[in-house]
């Protein structure tokens, strides 16, 4: 360290000490702005949800006579929840969502890791073309091609079946392939090679070595896809309008017409739909943050 910088350090040390002593007004103001804006931000994020939570616990007349920010009189009034759950057939919604969720996540993990394994570990004719094909597909936003996708699903006889949603989640979401391809960069090829020296087949290498090592990437895929599928609205809305096939999103959407003015029941429906999200978030916070930071970097 040269003389000049050490002088600076000394100078700064003195300055910091004197700052601590008298709490200058600028610092107080900046603290005020900092925490003030954070609190406003947090309130803006929470109030719409809290209002719905309050409303879901109010009776019909209470909802009409009290302000939206007034807490409910009885915190254990669950009538709206029972009504929303039963009349909205939300159990059916949860079951359909669960089936679609599980099949598409398992499918996306297997198919995605298989194609990523092939594209990452082997060189063959047409490989470049394939990589580009998977790359380019990310440029096509799903919503834009629904008009034509609908005809294909229809021609395959999949309209109004769960398979329609499952196959669309598998076929058009290329993000899993990306996450796996990226992750495979960090899995050394020497592992494959030493397994081959012991006579392991390529299948064994994939199944026993690669797939288990992909675990962190699989967690990312589960989170990113899980959130996407659970919250998706237009796929089930367009392709599975049959009541028996309703998922959480479409079950909730059906409240719109007949329950037009019964906001307390709709509020209970909203809460039922988001409670699983709240629980998952609280339980898996760390993985969720990581998942979204990784999943987004293409």
């Amino acid at each position: 360290m040269n003389k000049l910088t050490s002088a600076k350090v000394a100078f700064n040390a003195v300055r910091v000490n004197s700052d601590k002593g008298k709490q200058n007004p600028l610092k107080v103001a900046s603290l005020f702005v900092k925490y003030g804006s954070l609190i406003i931000g947090a309130l803006a994020a929470l109030i719409p949800i809290i209002v719905v939570f309050f409303a879901s616990l109010k009776t019909r007349s209470e909802y009409a006579s009290t302000g939206p920010l007034t807490p409910p009189e009885n915190w254990f009034y669950f009538e709206n929840y029972t009504r929303a759950f039963m009349e909205g057939k939300m159990l059916l919604g949860f079951m359909n969502t669960a089936i679609i969720l599980i099949v598409s996540i398992v499918g996306a993990t297997l198919l995605g890791s298989m194609i990523a394994f092939v594209l990452h570990r082997f060189h063959f004719k047409g490989k470049k073309l394939l990589v580009v094909a998977f790359l380019l597909a990310t440029l096509i936003p799903g919503v834009t091609t629904q008009v034509a996708t609908f005809q294909i699903i229809n021609d395959l006889g999949l309209f109004n079946t769960r398979l329609a949603a499952i196959i669309l989640y598998l076929g058009t979401d290329i993000i899993a392939v990306y996450i796996f391809l990226q992750f495979l960069d960090s899995v050394s090829i020497s592992l494959d090679e030493s397994a081959m020296l012991e006579g392991a087949s390529y299948w064994t290498i994939y199944w026993k070595i690669i797939l288990p090592l992909l675990k962190p990437a699989i967690v990312t895929v589960i989170i990113v896809k899980g959130v996407g599928v659970y919250n998706d609205f237009y796929t089930p809305f367009l392709y599975m309008p049959k009541t028996d096939l309703q998922v959480i999103s479409t079950a909730l959407f059906k409240f719109k017409g007949p329950y037009g003015a019964q906001w307390e029941v709709i509020s209970a429906g909203i809460m039922i739909a988001i409670i699983p999200t709240v629980i998952t978030f609280l339980a898996l916070q760390k993985y969720i943050y990581n998942g979204f930071s990784q999943g987004s970097v293409k």
Binding site: T144, T145, V147, A148, I152, V177, N231, Y234, S267, I270
Partner: protein
């Protein structure tokens, strides 16, 4: 029984490449590329979606998109979402910067700000229908702040509705950009801040000369993603208003034309235009990044 390991690695390779690629590739072409090709084809016809015949109409559909005000008015709605994108980025960047320094209850704030992004779209739509209702949450809050005179029909007034809806969209998606920015900022090594502080840099200098340059790529990428999202805005307006009161977006228009009015040809032409815009935006971004590197 057949065993893969009995074969030579050369033959195994062939089998693995073929079997592992078959299904993903078939799915990719059937559900990502075939629709695009079909869409191009439909866009030159007057097909209604179910009849056996499609008549070739040339560029007729494209002409009506750009000349019939009923169709191209939806571009104007995109402008609201476009500006909202910048508000969204600004907020995300602001909160990410603040929370990357020493703050009490850091994790709590981080969680709360991010959480809306995880919520179900229909639930969010309904939440904000309640929020914007006459005498609803928003009106009540304005009243509490002494701003009661500003009260509006937030979802009824065609001049305001798109602002309300774009605002809802900011509420929904801000957390995503925020968490990405926060991740990018936290990967900047601590020593750099310390060194800057020694040189007397204040927080603004640190933001301007350390944080912003190191995450500028991330910011650009997010802006581009958000612009594509802007143009394809659908869920929130569809759920909340169904496109009423002048809130129809490009995608609502397309879906309505195809599935409500049986104008698959025209809808396809609109989708082609939309796809074209999105691809241009993305390609421009990719090129811009390449030059930078």
């Amino acid at each position: 029984m057949f065993k893969l390991s009995d074969l030579s690695y050369k033959n195994q390779r062939k089998i693995i490449i073929f079997t592992f690629s078959l299904l993903p590739v078939v799915l990719l072409f059937t559900f990502a590329y075939l629709p695009v090709f079909n869409m191009f084809h439909y866009s030159f016809t007057d097909w209604n979606g179910f009849s056996k015949e499609k008549e070739w109409v040339g560029l007729e559909n494209y002409k009506s998109i750009f000349t019939n005000p009923e169709y191209f008015v939806v571009f104007k709605v995109s402008v609201y979402y476009f500006f909202a994108t910048f508000v969204q980025m600004g907020l995300a960047l602001y909160f990410a910067t603040i929370l990357s320094f020493n703050v009490k209850f850091k994790n709590l704030f981080k969680g709360i700000l991010f959480f809306p992004y995880l919520l179900n779209g229909v639930a969010i739509g309904f939440m904000f229908m309640i929020f914007f209702r006459p005498e609803g949450t928003f009106d009540t809050i304005l009243g509490m702040l002494g701003l009661g005179s500003l009260v509006q029909h937030w979802l009824g007034n065609p001049d305001i509705i798109n602002i309300s809806l774009a605002g809802t969209s900011v509420w929904r998606y801000m957390g995503f950009n925020f968490i990405i920015f926060l991740g990018a900022i936290s990967s900047i090594p601590n020593e750099i801040y310390e060194a800057a502080e020694m040189d007397g840099a204040n927080r603004w200098h640190q933001f301007r000369y350390i944080i912003l340059p190191s995450i500028s790529r991330m910011v650009q990428l997010n802006i581009i993603l958000a612009i594509s999202g802007t143009i394809s805005a659908f869920e929130i307006p569809f759920i909340m208003t169904g496109g009423a009161n002048g809130s129809k977006t490009f995608v609502i228009q397309t879906v309505d034309l195809a599935f409500k009015y049986g104008k698959v040809g025209l809808a396809s032409a609109m989708a082609v235009v939309l796809l074209f815009i999105v691809i241009v935006v993305t390609v421009v971004q990719r090129l811009a990044f390449k030059e930078e590197r």
